[in-house]
Subunit: 343 residues, 2 copies
């Protein structure tokens, strides 16, 4: 069923039918109702490609997902993020288009996407510190919103970010206030901007208390359960092991907990953990009492807001670079306690 057939069936011109369905005023109410009824009965829904061609808009948003080539891994927060963004899109009648890309072929893929014109805007995931995509998309004149920020980029662009600095500073201070002096940082990959900010916040908090950084207590790896376990196991074997861990994700924290327990120690008594918690649907941090003390901010909320910002930007590009920062809550769970005396 297409517009032509529908209009023939109704003995009307395509113009009239199109206008009736799109709510234009210059069509009488009788005909509008007749048209709408027929459209419903015949299950007519305009061909999206043709509509897009005529309108010059795709009614779709692109998400480019970087897939780590080493580990073939998709960031697990991604599911929740797009669940949020998707809700914003469908409310506005937009589709979501996904492309996966390995770290190599980034630039060409973005160029192609823009040239092919089947998205009206792009969400940039996982920005690095001097992410080249920001200049590229600006040059290509494609509306975009970055989930995160790029510390070394100074051209204006729209972003939405969690306040990683404040969250990790608070988390570190929380441990320091409990008397911990040997605090390990299990960070994500530090060319990622959020991981860089987190490390700087950790460093800042320690230095303010005149504690120096110990490279043996810092690691920067992909945030998997295994990495959490392995790195924590190594650190716990040090002569002067950490009494607390600051981890970048719940998954890493689960690995660290496993390391603590298999070292015969008790979490929250012998060794503390504080983690960042993205509030993922399938990985809630406990129920009434949280398991892990955590800085929590919902990545699903971030998805919703990022989607909304981008849609606003598409409607009115002059609305200029938009910025939004999300504060994380500090949630007290059972994984933290005062630093043990005998260390």
């Amino acid at each position: 069923m297409n517009l032509k057939k529908l209009s023939e069936h109704l003995n009307l011109s395509q113009t009239t039918v199109s206008r009736a369905l799109n709510g234009y005023p210059e069509v009488s109410e009788k005909t509008r109702e007749r048209v709408q009824k027929a459209a419903r009965e015949l299950n007519y829904s305009p061909n999206a490609r043709a509509k897009g061609l005529a309108l010059g808009r795709a009614h779709a948003i692109g998400h480019v997902i970087p897939v780590s080539t080493q580990h073939e891994m998709v960031n697990p927060v991604f599911g929740d993020f797009i669940a949020g963004a998707g809700a914003a899109y469908s409310a506005a009648g937009y589709e979501m288009m996904l492309s996966l890309v390995d770290d190599q072929s980034q630039e060409q893929l973005y160029r192609d996407i823009c040239a092919r014109r089947n998205v009206d805007g792009i969400i940039v995931h996982g920005p690095t510190m001097d992410d080249p995509r920001i200049a590229l998309l600006t040059e290509l004149n494609m509306p975009f919103v970055v989930h995160g920020r790029a510390s070394n980029i100074d051209i204006p662009y729209s972003w939405l970010d969690t306040n990683n600095s404040r969250a990790f500073r608070r988390a570190t201070e929380f441990l320091l206030d409990l008397g911990h002096k040997r605090i390990a940082l299990m960070n994500g990959l530090e060319f990622m901007d959020y991981a860089f900010r987190r490390r700087e916040a950790y460093r800042g908090a320690l230095e303010t208390r005149d504690l120096s950084l110990d490279p043996e207590l810092m690691c920067s790896k992909e945030m998997t359960e295994s990495n959490g376990f392995l790195s924590a196991t190594d650190m716990l074997r040090l002569d002067n092991p950490p009494t607390a861990f600051l981890t970048s994700s719940m998954i890493t924290a689960i690995g660290v907990r496993r390391a603590i327990e298999s070292a015969g120690l008790v979490m929250g008594r012998d060794v503390s953990i504080i983690t960042h918690d993205d509030d993922l649907g399938y990985l809630k941090n406990g129920h009434d009492v949280p398991i892990f003390t955590a800085t929590r901010s919902s990545v699903r909320e971030a998805g919703i807001r990022a989607g909304e910002l981008l849609l606003d930007l598409i409607r009115d590009p002059s609305a200029g670079p938009m910025h939004e920062i999300i504060e994380a809550e500090l949630i007290i769970g059972t994984s933290t306690g005062p630093a043990p005396k005998d260390h």
Copy 2:
């Protein structure tokens, strides 16, 4: 940059330019090279909507992701599945289109997607036992491949599935062989087809050994860490508690492990766990020695194969219903051991 401008710039007709770029033989090699060079330099890439309109094909595959309304949760295997499928698509020059839908408005969404014609095929995720989408898409004449199967549907359709029955039967027998008699099943939601098959396999294995099912040892919930923890905690408090757990996902298993440990028991000695392992990138089951004894099958592989099947089906719909079954490996980890004597 579009075809018209490009052809004017080259002093050629649009026809010739189009043919040159699409590899048709009736254009001379000189001109072809000239055209290709210009296209590269001017960064020309055909407008996808226009191409789709002209060709009657969208070059895109739709994925409809059911979002559980109660828990606003996206199945965590989803990220890995689409990473696989996406690889298959981009190899073939296809895009991936995502729609999220809550359980309610399923049918209308599918009808719309088909009517709007901006996908050439659909992957059906998470089929239930008598999933209505199969009849619907068949009627609408839209190529599709189901990830999983629908036990109560008897019309022919294409699917790709893990052999859940065999995997869970083997897993149950493995525990039985170790002497366990009180085996708990922590299943997913049992209106989902895979969960139903898993339960039936578990039941079959027990009945073969003349053991009766104990409803107190069976639960059917969303596969989250919390649910694993809560249900396992309850079961371990029974007068006659289970000595082994069979869980549906790594995440659930992690929750069960937490329950075991916080009950003061030791996993693999006091209580065994065997789980299904989707081999997710960020949640590897240990490194050299697996943590959990598990039935493993890579959901990423499933994504790749499902994508390939669907592309084949789109190329040649008469290639008829395609079926593919993936066997799971049984991986022996440290989470299982002989049933304790004193129980």
